[in-house]
């Protein structure tokens, strides 16, 4: 499912969601990805917007075009790893930022995360 919020450009949200699909293996390394039109129809968005997201993803190396054959997910695992790390880092930044707003220190955050993980692991 594709979901979009109203306050940010749709192509940016498409980029994130396609990246996520590559990282979590919905689109596997070396796989062909759906065409511009297919994604446009599926997500109910303008084909030009999908095209723009694809170009951006090609530039960052996540996707590559092979003339006439279509677009493929990179088969370089390191590229996918790097993107996963980048996305994770972004989430950590947001999370830690919110914790600081609550007045918590770095140690507090680590303690809380550790406690949460212990609880979840039970």
């Amino acid at each position: 499912m594709w979901e979009f919020t109203n306050d940010r450009p749709i192509y940016l949200q498409l980029i994130e969601q396609i990246k996520l699909r590559v990282i979590n293996g919905t689109y596997k390394p070396g796989d062909k990805v759906p065409s511009v039109r297919e994604i446009a129809m599926e997500a109910g968005v303008n084909p030009n917007t999908v095209q723009r997201a694809f170009l951006e993803l090609e530039r960052s190396g996540i996707l590559s075009t092979q003339r006439t054959l279509g677009r493929f997910v990179t088969d370089k695992e390191t590229d996918i790893q790097n993107n996963r790390d980048d996305m994770a880092k972004e989430q950590v930044e947001i999370f830690v930022g919110k914790m600081k707003e609550l007045g918590l220190s770095g140690e507090d955050v680590i303690r809380l995360v550790q406690a949460y993980l212990n609880e979840e692991g039970k």
């Binding site: 979009f4 109203n6 306050d7 940010r8 450009p9 749709i10 192509y11 039109r37 446009a40 129809m41 997500a43 109910g44 968005v45 303008n46 084909p47 030009n48 917007t49 723009r52």
Partner: protein, 232 residues
């Protein structure tokens, strides 16, 4: 990309009222354009002039370099706000009528879409639900290979599922060398579908930009911007 619509100093008056006021507009192919504005801002008047149904008082309109007339009408597919089809006709007969009227009408495309909807071609148009009437009109309109599609309130008055169907049908059928103009008040529903936004106020274009630019620069949706600009 080529220019599909060009208006120069276009003006339309109804008596002492100016509906379209010295409008200069140029739209390229490959775009879906949202024509947005409050009631009475001139949306329908503009669409009707592009479709050749109203004559401007002054100024000029070019549709793919053709002046308004027989040749331009062959390039514009118009979906009126109010249904203009003879409602006693059967769906199948409407398809035949469109085929007779328009050289660019692709009947196979129309039949395929009608089949997807599971609509009986022998049913009269009058007997359909409002939602299905809207869908049939849109199918007929989008089955033409036109340069400009003028859709006047295509999603007004139908349920959200029917809206999704209509928007997807538009996405599916427009091609790179055509321009789709959608006039509507249901901005939230079309935000993801359109490239370009035109805000029309008292017959003039006060904003002509892309959805992504609005979101990037103003950090707000087109819907929110509309409410701000046209707050009463």
């Amino acid at each position: 990309m080529s220019v599909n619509l060009n208006t120069v100093a276009l003006t339309k008056r109804y008596g002492s009222e100016t509906a379209i006021d010295n409008l200069n507009l140029s739209l390229e192919s490959g775009q879906i354009v949202g024509l947005l504005g409050p009631n009475g801002s001139g949306k329908t008047t503009l669409i009707k002039m592009i479709s050749g149904l109203l004559t401007p008082n002054s100024g000029e309109i070019l549709v793919a370099d053709k002046k308004i007339g027989k040749e331009s009408k062959a390039l514009v597919s118009y979906l009126p706000e109010r249904c203009a089809l003879p409602d006693w006709m059967k769906i199948g007969e409407l398809v035949t009528m469109y085929k007779d009227f328009f050289n660019d009408f692709d009947e196979n495309r129309a039949y395929a879409m009608l089949k997807d909807l599971d609509l009986d071609l022998k049913k009269t148009f009058k007997a359909l639900s409002k939602g299905n009437r809207e869908k049939v009109q849109l199918i007929l309109c989008m089955s033409r290979n036109a340069k400009i599609y003028c859709l006047d309130e295509p999603i007004g008055g139908v349920d959200p599922a029917a809206r999704d169907y209509i928007l997807r049908t538009i996405l599916q059928n427009y091609c790179e060398d055509s321009t789709v103009i959608i006039s509507t008040h249901l901005i939230r529903d079309i935000e993801g579908v359109i490239d370009r936004v035109l805000f029309l106020k008292k017959g003039q274009v006060i904003l002509n930009t892309t959805v992504d630019e609005i979101r990037e620069e103003k950090k707000m949706s087109v819907d929110a911007l509309f409410r701000e600009v046209f707050a009463c």
